[in-house]
């Protein structure tokens, strides 16, 4: 049963940039662990330290108690799908995998199996230079799977995949993680980093939330969401009166985006107040907190790129717009959310 443990993991780039700051986390086998955080939160740096590509300034991240570079044949233990990983444009996909298989002492049979797994059998003898982004991403996954690893690390795997590709990847990761549980005790570890929360919410079982290189939260997604708040949004021509009425009833209320939002309110509480005050209602929506709003609460509303299904309200906000859940944060400059944004 594999384990991944980070203790006091710290990475400083130069003098000014503290990318990861005394990070402690555990990745739990048998499920998918989501590494979530805004751009520059230290997700990629953390994963690259796990994989021995970046040397920690201090602290450690260990796989089964070993550093990655001390694993005898890491290809057979850990598979990695990385964003900035490269391909020689003139080399064919099959040869690309054969090179890695040769390094790891794996039979070429695995190359064909993995090409088949990701649906690149047909394209296997084409030069990677002509591959689309999604094909390259799948080839990366094929490379990661060569050694039948029991730890799979994926950095922003959904990037470049079309909706079908993302759906396929989601099923694949779920199956991969659970398959391991059947094969051996405890199962496999899958770590997926993502800034697409709506996407992550569908895949992950556990979350590690990073912000400014620090751990903001860790735990089972369900547990984290269980204690979450509810809110009610109302569209009305009498916004000011409603806000006043809600305030009189000791409920928080604020006007936002043409709606009156009542944090922590329920329709049962808000409805009678509106009737009592004879306030005209055009629309009323009740929502529980999603991973997204939880995330904003945890990270203090740093700049965040939203996924295709944008949040519980379904309305679309631009990159770096203020978060809906914490109006105070929108007065801060979200653009400054960098590796040291949380400090």
């Amino acid at each position: 049963m594999p384990t991944i443990q980070a203790r006091g993991l710290t990475k400083r780039f130069g003098r000014d940039v503290l990318a990861v700051d005394h990070l402690d986390f555990d990745a739990i086998p048998g499920g998918v662990t989501g590494f979530l955080g805004p751009n520059g939160a230290g997700k990629t740096t953390t994963l690259r330290m796990l994989l021995g590509l970046v040397t920690p300034t201090s602290g450690s991240v260990l796989i089964d108690g070993h550093r990655y570079r001390d694993l005898p044949n890491p290809t057979t233990r850990v598979g990695a799908v990385l964003e900035a990983s490269g391909f020689h444009p003139a080399r064919t996909a099959r040869n690309h995998l054969k090179v890695i298989a040769t390094m790891a002492g794996l039979p070429f049979r695995r190359v064909d199996e993995c090409l088949d797994l990701v649906g690149l059998s047909e394209a296997g003898d084409r030069a990677v230079g002509g591959f689309s982004m999604g094909m390259r991403q799948r080839l990366e996954l094929a490379r990661a799977m060569l050694g039948k690893p029991d730890v799979l690390v994926l950095d922003e795997p959904a990037n470049g995949l079309d909706p079908q590709g993302i759906a396929w990847l989601r099923d694949f990761l779920k199956l991969y993680a659970s398959e391991g549980a059947a094969e051996r005790d405890g199962g496999r570890i899958v770590i997926v980093s993502s800034h697409l929360l709506s996407e992550a919410q569908l895949i992950v079982d556990d979350v590690v939330v990073l912000t400014g290189g620090r751990l903001a939260a860790q735990g089972r997604l369900q547990d984290l969401l269980a204690g979450s708040k509810r809110s009610v949004r109302v569209r009305t021509p009498d916004a000011e009166r409603l806000i006043q009425a809600l305030h009189d009833a000791k409920l928080p209320a604020a006007a936002r985006d043409g709606y009156v939002v009542c944090e922590g309110g329920t329709p049962e509480a808000v409805g009678p107040i509106m009737v009592e005050n004879r306030i005209e209602v055009h629309e009323m929506v009740s929502s529980t907190e999603s991973l997204e709003s939880l995330f904003f609460a945890l990270t203090g509303g740093e700049g965040m790129q939203l996924g295709h299904a944008a949040g519980p309200t379904g309305d679309y906000r631009r990159f770096n717009d203020g978060p809906p859940a914490s109006p105070a944060a929108s007065s801060e400059a979200p653009a400054s959310a960098g590796p040291i944004g949380g400090q």
Binding site: V54, T55, S85, G86, F87, H88, N95, T102, M103
Partner: protein, 286 residues
């Protein structure tokens, strides 16, 4: 380690640029060789004037230009390591073998082997060139344009038969005095290029620095301070060619003994690669 060596060979021979590089070497060899053979006088003929066609000195001159291929071995060596950074294949490489020193060692081994193959290809090209040049000379009297008939044609045949035997003898002799040295020098120059690549990491920078130093800086230093010049990579590689000591340029160039040249080149390559491994290659792959 065996797997790493095989993987490096596979990396090299699964991209077309390697084949192009080897093709360029053959083309350059042929162009330089023919150019020199057909030009009056030779590269090292210098003040001695025109060297007679087919003489031993003539063949030494023709073959000695073939060591230009070591420049391309330097490029090959540099590409072997900097190509990984350029195309970011260094990430999957170091994921599969995180002990980076071992990767560099495998690259040094394969770089040396490929350089030797490149040198051997060069000398084969030289041999073909030599035979073609001899055949051209012999053929010139046999052509219909010569209008030699009967007795005169027989005489021509005997005369040129003798010429053929004598010149090919010279050719073989000189080829053996140069070929092994060029092949070894080319192999070692690939290691030198690899060392430069490991230290400089950037492909263009490594190649430009290597070429400028070898073709310009070394020539200047060699001309001003020959005692220093003989220890520099280019002269060290020339020292590997047996004929260089006795036949090139009438003793104006100072050269190390062949083993000294080989040792110097090896020191350059290994030292640079070692430095590169402990500086550049240890750095983070982001």
């Amino acid at each position: 380690m065996f797997g790493l060596l095989k993987a490096e060979i596979r990396k090299l021979w699964t991209i077309w640029s390697t084949y192009v590089l080897f093709g360029i070497v053959v083309l350059i060899d042929l162009a330089f060789g023919f150019g020199l053979a057909l030009a009056p006088g030779g590269r090292h003929g210098g003040s001695a004037g025109i060297v007679p066609h087919g003489s031993s000195q003539w063949f030494v001159n023709v073959f000695s230009v073939l060591d230009v291929s070591r420049i391309l071995a330097l490029v090959l060596g540099a590409i072997i390591i900097t190509g990984e950074y350029r195309h970011k294949t260094v990430t999957p490489t170091f994921l599969a073998e995180p002990r980076r020193g071992r990767v560099v060692m495998a690259k040094l081994g394969v770089g040396f082997g490929s350089g030797v193959v490149l040198g051997a290809l060069t000398m084969l090209t030289g041999l073909v060139l030599g035979f073609v040049l001899v055949a051209l000379k012999v053929h010139s009297c046999m052509t219909p344009f010569g209008v030699s008939q009967g007795m005169s044609q027989a005489l021509c045949g005997v005369r040129h038969g003798a010429y053929y035997v004598a010149t090919t003898h010279n050719m073989w002799h000189d080829w053996w005095r140069i070929a092994p040295g060029v092949a070894l020098g080319t192999g070692l120059f690939a290691i030198y290029g690899l060392g430069l690549g490991a230290l400089l990491k950037n492909q263009i920078v490594a190649i430009v620095v290597g070429l400028v130093f070898t073709l310009i800086v070394e020539a200047i230093i060699g001309a001003i301070w020959p005692t220093i010049g003989e220890y520099l990579p280019g002269q060290a590689a020339t020292a590997l060619e047996d004929a260089a000591r006795t036949n090139f340029g009438g003793g104006t160039t100072q050269l190390l003994p062949w083993w000294g040249g080989a040792a110097m080149l090896l020191v350059y390559g290994i030292a640079l690669a070692f430095l590169g491994t402990f500086t550049t290659l240890r750095s983070d792959i982001t």
